[in-house]
């Protein structure tokens, strides 16, 4: 069995396989396209680094997008 890591995504703890990139996470969550931003441990991960930035156990991830607002 492959190693898993636990990360918190938008306040929810989830298990993923180790060595997953930010891009991999977005894919696993079925977040494709659209305008989103990812923050890892309070640091923005620029989209140019989504493929190379690997997640680690205990990471705090925020994935945001635009919604209606005043």
């Amino acid at each position: 069995m492959s190693q898993t890591i636990k990360i918190t995504v938008n306040g929810e703890i989830r298990a993923f396989q180790a060595d997953m990139s930010v891009q991999g996470l977005l894919g696993a969550l079925e977040i494709v396209g659209g305008k989103v931003a990812v923050e890892r441990n309070r640091q923005i991960v620029p989209s140019s680094q989504h493929n190379t930035e690997l997640l680690e156990d205990g990471d705090q991830i925020e994935i945001v997008h635009f919604i209606g607002g005043g």
Binding site: F66, G69, G70
Partner: protein
């Protein structure tokens, strides 16, 4: 009406009405209201994606950010740190540096938290953002925000979502007279005459959400706001007649039988 554009952070816009995209029944209604309003700029909020149902429709599917300027806001932020964090995420997600900063003071009034507004504005401007700032109606605070480098000053006319209309025309006018950047009334508009009043005071524009979204017919109200903003602007440019205490007949007195 001849072209009467205004310039915001180096960009020229025809419409002086900025509308929010919150509180609508669905995205379809949002898109129709925005279209009816004639707005070229819409405010949007930044929130977590619902990871439980990723396929949900998105605002960007209904309002094309290539055709309409998205103005990310910091609604719901009560301190400088969270406001700055939110707008950095917005810039990453959208690639836009024109933003609406609003740091709120308390839940009950949603009045601006001015100390944190100054702090956040400073950090954002230093970081290259073009900041449109929601603020109180104090001309001294407004001047300071302009001097710091904010690209638009946006005092409230009444509490957010209250629909009370412009409660502070004197303060708004004082802010307009001293400003060298656009001034917009942001918050408090309830109906079309309020939008017209903001423009008659000499505002460069007016920003609203609830007045349209909570109308019985939001599309109709969006259209009314579109007209009212234009009417108010034209009245301002045309120069209203002076007020008098007593009557002045409209028909000539000469030739009376």
């Amino acid at each position: 009406m001849p072209s009467d554009s205004w310039t915001l952070a180096g960009q020229s816009y025809q419409s002086r009405l900025i509308v929010g995209t919150g509180k609508y029944k669905d995205f379809e209604e949002t898109a129709k209201a925005v279209e009816a309003s004639g707005a070229e700029i819409v405010t949007v909020a930044v929130r977590r994606i619902n990871i439980a149902s990723p396929g949900e429709p998105m605002l960007v599917d209904y309002l094309n950010p290539k055709k309409i300027t998205y103005l990310p806001n910091t609604a719901g932020c009560f301190d400088a740190d969270s406001a700055v964090r939110t707008l950095r995420l917005a810039r990453e997600a959208g690639g836009w540096d024109l933003v609406k900063l609003e740091v709120l003071g308390d839940q009950k009034t949603l009045y601006p938290n001015m100390p944190d507004t100054f702090e956040a504005a400073e950090a954002l401007i230093k970081d290259g953002f073009k900041v449109m700032v929601y603020c109180n109606d104090d001309p001294i605070a407004a001047k300071r925000l302009e001097d710091m480098g904010c690209v638009a000053i946006m005092p409230l006319g009444a509490p957010i979502g209250s629909g009370l209309g412009i409660q502070n025309p004197v303060q708004i006018r004082l802010i307009i007279e001293q400003a060298n950047v656009p001034v917009l009334v942001d918050a408090g508009v309830g109906t079309a005459s309020d939008a017209a009043q903001a423009m008659e005071l000499g505002c460069d524009g007016v920003l609203m959400n609830t007045a349209i979204a909570e109308a019985k017919d939001p599309i109709g109200m969006a259209k009314a706001m579109n007209y009212a903003t234009k009417a108010g602007r034209l009245a301002y440019l045309s120069g209203r007649m002076p007020k008098r205490l007593y009557a002045d007949p409209s028909s000539p007195l000469a030739g009376l039988i």
